[in-house]
Structure formats: structure tokens, C-alpha cells
Symmetry: C2
Subunit: 411 residues, 2 copies
């Protein structure tokens, strides 16, 4: 047993506005067990088509997971379709009816007639209790094959898979150990990163390497499978340390923490406080810093100075400086950071000024961003970047680069 | 012809971190033509399995759209799988080779040998030019059926579908007229909205009604199909105007514009300027306002005052007021808005203060948010809300409610 297919059931998943995300979570769980997903299918509430899809899946793989279509209405056809595909009848379960009646009593609601549909299972199935909804799941074995019926709502599906299916699956799968490494990287583009590290990971299928990139934020996942822990660790050693060596301090996290959380830890360790002065990011930098619970311990506040006049008025940036260098200059970024630090009394301050577009106001090319930094007993400093993207892409990268700049300085 | 299936090809789409979103866009396009999607499939780079999936699709529907797997490498198996499923050979096209060679010359790059794979099409296929990449698409007719091969990168796929496939499809489909209405709604939850308007739209399958909800932002789409424009408009009349009546000024946009864009138009029409004072939203409000291109015309700047001390120091909020009412109070929100207005010289100012959690600092329940507003020649005003969600859910709703509060006041 090593391959699986995932079938999501529900006509709403075939509209332009809804997407099946359960399969991503299930894939992660299955991969963790050494099971690969070969195919994912989304079908509507169409018994005949669903049953044809299940039959094809059973020909191709040993594990078939269905999500959704277990509700009480006529539209919910998963039970019937699975029974049909396996050539087994549906049978009534008194224990499911008892559990359902009790649930409705507890919630002080009357059970509708159509909920009775939810008390039938495919003959030979083990019902899987659902603590969070009315739809029981089902675990069905058929020769060497396994079919799982799970409810569609993500919190019900996750709880049922984790609580009921994981241990049953593990028993059926060859014993194996999974060991992972996880790096988060800032300050470089995806293609530059891949060019740098692909010679290290490309030769190895095990560990499997996955790279996931957002705006200036890259995640690298390594996953090794083996029969024993030392063997899995040995496999990781061929790829993990060379990648760490190549990326150096561009790796900002090894435990999944995002960069704003890492900065929070750095500031807390120093008992330091932080303020911001934002121009082109317009609040995004403060938003990211304060998205961390407990950030009021170190973040005092800041200034959104979108116009030159506000840079002067709120932060004390010299109008002559702006006239000479424009607002998109190292001089302005330094003065903004220094102004924020002085006016809030924070230990550190960071500033962002630049051209997010669509038109340049200062004459500097769109994408130009200057990050400033002020600290006690030192001159303020600034760095210039040219960042990629449309208006909101530049803004997102500018905030990310500013956070990374701060992280390196506090390192 | 009325049903379609969409097949996304690529092993990366079977990992936990990648999802096929092309199918959402394609579904929207197909629905617009009156075509329903019956099944969506994701398969890896597996020729045999892909070919079996295509064969099943051709049995079930008249339109099969494949995305991805048209690249130059051995992993790119879509061409071969379609040829196999249709029982036709692949044939070399000199015109595709010429176009490809020219493209590489223009970019001053050497064409790799394996790019030759991209010059083969299924016999009888019409090649579809790709202005944005090396992979040509294919349009294949087989009796009454149509198979489309499109490239995987979304911007290539969209350009090719819009430029090449849409008009070809329209010719094959029965003539029909589509008319739509689109409403964006703020200031109420999804279930409250649905309870209010479902008696209006539920009785009608045509127009089709789709409701899509984000944090405090709801989109309502109506889509009517008919043989003529007056007929389609008549169908919309049964649902659109009653919904407009029920929702009144909760509808903030009828053309898709988001609320920050609507506010921008309101401010521009009044030649007015705006500043913000943010506590619990930490910059998110400013971020949203400045995400609109050209917002520097009306947004001057603002203050992130995360601590009580900063509210006093940067905005002039009276410490005695904070001691008496705490920072999560109408009094504080009004003083913050007034302070921002005075210190920036803007015409209007909005403020947000509240408890985003996880712990309450002021004693007010987590989710409590106060929105303040200051304008010329009037007392500042404030409104209290209790918003739903975890820390970042409350923050997102707080920004949305603040924007909606401003929109109504400027109405």
C-alpha cells in the first residue's frame, strides 16, 4: 500500500468561488505516512458519476478517501455511490440512530426524518464517530483496499481523520520513520534560491524537497523516510546541512515561525522596544508586526507619513533635505527612522519609503524602496532596494525586506 | 453541448502546498457561456493515468479542458496522453518550430533540444499561439466533442483561453445571452444576510445566485441566461431589485469596486483629505486605504498608537480620560480621531481602538472594537461593536467596519 486518491464530493465545489482545500491537508497527512496521492477528483452530487469515479480509483490505488456528501438530504449521495461501486448494500445501524437521537436531545432540537439517512452504512463498514457534527464517517476494507468516507466540513474531517483513521492506516502500512527539516528564508527571490540550492537537493528523491514561495518569503521542506530514525537522519544529512551552509543567515526560522514572530523574540530577548515610520507601505509594516499576539510588549507605535508635508510635520524630516534628495532617498529614510525613534521614545525604529507605483512621484523608478534603521548611540542607517511586482507586490516585498533588515541588525 | 470537465496536470499539484486555481477561473468563464463543470481532476505527470482520465471524460462530457504538462521536458506528458486517448498520432509542425526559434532568437537565448517536443500536436489539432510562453496550446475537435490543451501558468492560460478559445467555443454553443448583477455588501454577517435575502433568490434557478463571504465583506452574484437581452433582464428583475430593496445602503458597490476604492471616490468627490489613528488594527486600516493606486491624493497619513502612552503622546489623548474610561472606550476613540485630525490637518479622521485578543488588556471583552470619526465643525463621534473571530479575524473585521463606517458617513 503506498498510493491514494482523494475524492471531494459536492456541487458547491464545482462553482467558481469554492475550492476543495481538505485535500491539501489530507495530502500532508498521507505523505507523512509515506503515502503518495496519485489523483484528486472533485465531483458534484451525482451518484452515478461518483460511483464511476470510485470504481476507477479502486482499480488504480489501495487507499481511496472521500470527503463530503454524508449529510441528511437527498443531495448527499456518497453512501449510495460507495455501496454501488463496491457492490454491497447499505445497512441500518441502530447504534448510529441512538447516537444521533441523543445528540439532538442534548442540543434540545427535534431530529428531522431525513437524518435517518445518516444511520445507514455500507455493509461491513466500521462507522467512525463524529464529535462535531451529525455525519458519521465510515472505514471500509475490501481485500487489500481501504475506502474512507469523511465529512466535508474541514474541522469535522480533520478531527475524524486524526482521531480515527491515522492509527488504522498506520497499522496497514509498512513501518517507517519520517524525519523533516523546515527552513524559512528571506531576502532573496525564488529563482535565485533554487539556482543556489538545486544542485544540493536535485540528486536526492529521499529526502523529498519542496519549495514554496510567497512575496520575498520562501519555505523549504525536506522529508526523509526510512526504516529507522538514524537512517532517516542520515538521509537528511546529505541535504539539510549543505543547504544551511549555502543560505547562511538568510534562513530566519527552522521551526516554522514567521519573520514578525522571530523579530518579536529578538526584541523581547533584548528588552527593547520598536517603532515604525511608513510611507509607501502605508501601515502594512505595523500590521504585520502587530499581527503577533503579545506584540504590545515591544511595539509602541508609529507614523504613516504618506505625504512630504507629513514627513516633516510628524517626523521632523527637514524640508530642505526633501527638496534636495526627494522622499525616496537614504537621507529621508534615515531621518524618518530617527524621527520615529525620538518622538516615540522607542529603542529601535525602522522606516520604509519608496515608489510602489503605478506612477513614480519622486523620479526614482517604480519598485525603488529605501529601508531606514535607527538605534541608540549610533547614526541612523539606510539601504536601497529595487523590488519586483505591481503596486501591492512592491508594498508586500517592502514590508518583508524591512522586517528582514531589522532581523539581521538584531541578530 | 453543455457540460465540461477540467483536468489539471502536474505532480506539483498533488503536494500539500500547491492547489489548482486555474479551474476556478475556467469554471467562471464556462458558466458565463452556460456550460456547467461536472468534474475536476488533478493528475500527476503520469501518461497512462492521464490518458485513462481523458478517456473517461470523453465518455461523460462534450468539453474537456486540460491545463499544464505542455512544457519541454520528459515530465510533460499531456500531448502524448491526449493523442493516446483519442487514438491519433502526434505530428510535427514546422510553423511551431519557426515560431519557437524566432522567440528564442528575440530573447537572445539558445533553444534547447527538448523544446522540439513543443512543436508536436495531436493530428488534426489547431495549434493555439502562446504570446507569453513557449508552450503552444491545442484545440481539437472529435465528432461533437472538443478537447483543449492549455498551458499551466495562470497568466498564459487566461490569455490563451480568452484570446483563442472563447470565440471558438461560443460558435459551437447554442446562442444565449448572459446578464449579471454584482453587489458588494458590508456591515453584516453572511448568515444574517442569507436569512434576509434567501426567500428572494431561492425560488429561482435562473438567475443563478452565488454568495461569497470574506471577513465582513460579502459578494452577491446574479447570473441570468436567456435567448435575448430583454428576457435575461426580465429574469434579473425578479431577484435584483428586491435584494437591493432589502439591503439598502449596506450595498456599497455594484461594479466590483472594493470598499477602500469607494471611499477614495467619495473623498475625491469632496476634495477632502483623510488621516487615521489605529490601535488594535496596528496599521491594517492605513494599509487598506493606501492599497488603492492614487490614494496619496486624499490620504495624508496617520498614527499607530499601540500603547496608552503613545495615545497621549502622539495624539494628545488626556491621560485622565484613559484612566477613567480605558483605551477601549467611545471617549478614547473620539479623542484619537480628533487628535489625528488636528495633528495632520486632514479634513476627516477615523480611529480604531479595541481588544483583538488573545487576552483583554482593558477589561472589555475580546472582540470589542470602537470606531471613532472626526470632521470639521462637529463633535467627534464613536460607535461600539463586538466583532467575531480570532485575533487576526477581529483585526480584519475592525478595519472593514471602520471603512464601512466612514463610507456611510460620507454618503
Amino acid at each position: 500500500m503506498a498510493d491514494a486518491e482523494i475524492i471531494a464530493v459536492g456541487s458547491e465545489l464545482l462553482t467558481p468561488s469554492r475550492i476543495d482545500t481538505n485535500s491539501l491537508w489530507l495530502t500532508d497527512q498521507l505523505n507523512g505516512l509515506g503515502v503518495e496521492v496519485r489523483r484528486k477528483v472533485v465531483v458534484g452530487d451525482d451518484r452515478e458519476l461518483l460511483s464511476a469515479v470510485i470504481r476507477q480509483s479502486l482499480k488504480q490505488v489501495d487507499i481511496v478517501i472521500l470527503s463530503g456528501g454524508l449529510g441528511p438530504t437527498e443531495d448527499d449521495v456518497t453512501r449510495e455511490a460507495v455501496a454501488e461501486a463496491l457492490g454491497r448494500p447499505l445497512v441500518f445501524r441502530q447504534d448510529l440512530l441512538d447516537a444521533l437521537s441523543e445528540r439532538f436531545q442534548r442540543l434540545n432540537r427535534k431530529m428531522a426524518d431525513n437524518n435517518r439517512r445518516q444511520t445507514f452504512v455500507v455493509e461491513g463498514a466500521e462507522p467512525l464517530p463524529n464529535g462535531r457534527g451529525t455525519a458519521a464517517g465510515q472505514w471500509i476494507e475490501d481485500d487489500s483496499k481501504v475506502v474512507m468516507l469523511l465529512p466535508g466540513p474541514p474541522h469535522e474531517l480533520k478531527a475524524m481523520f486524526t482521531g480515527e483513521c491515522l492509527s488504522r492506516l498506520q497499522k496497514k502500512l509498512p513501518a517507517q520513520v519520517i524525519r523533516t527539516r523546515f527552513y524559512r528564508v528571506a531576502g532573496m527571490g525564488e529563482s535565485d534560491l533554487d539556482q543556489l540550492i538545486s544542485p544540493v537537493y536535485k540528486p536526492y528523491a529521499n529526502p523529498a524537497t519542496t519549495i514554496l514561495a510567497g512575496a520575498g518569503d520562501i519555505q523549504i521542506h525536506l522529508r526523509a523516510r526510512a526504516h529507522s530514525e538514524p537512517e532517516a537522519e542520515a538521509l537528511l544529512t546529505a541535504v539539510g546541512p549543505p543547504i544551511e551552509e549555502l543560505l547562511g543567515d538568510r534562513i530566519y526560522s527552522r521551526n516554522g515561525a514567521n519573520i514578525e514572530t522571530v523579530i518579536g523574540e529578538q526584541l523581547r530577548a533584548r528588552h527593547a522596544t520598536l517603532s515604525v515610520a511608513e510611507s509607501c507601505t502605508g501601515g502594512l509594516l505595523g500590521d504585520r508586526i502587530t499581527s503577533v499576539a503579545g506584540s504590545s510588549d515591544y511595539f509602541v507605535g508609529g507614523f504613516l507619513t504618506y505625504s512630504d508635508a507629513m514627513k516633516t510635520h510628524l517626523l521632523g524630516v527637514d524640508p530642505a533635505l526633501l527638496a534636495r534628495h526627494t522622499s525616496v532617498s537614504e537621507e529621508c529614510a534615515k531621518a524618518m527612522a530617527e524621527g520615529a525613534r525620538q518622538r516615540t521614545g522607542s529603542i529601535y525604529a525602522i522606516s520604509v519609503t519608496g515608489e510602489a507605483g503605478p506612477q513614480s512621484q519622486s523620479g526614482a523608478p517604480v519598485g525603488t524602496v529605501i529601508i531606514g534603521f535607527a538605534a541608540p548611540d549610533a547614526e541612523a542607517q539606510a539601504k536601497r532596494y529595487v523590488l519586483f511586482g505591481d503596486r501591492n507586490g512592491v508594498r508586500a516585498r517592502a514590508a518583508q525586506w524591512a522586517l528582514d533588515d531589522l532581523r539581521r541588525r538584531l541578530h
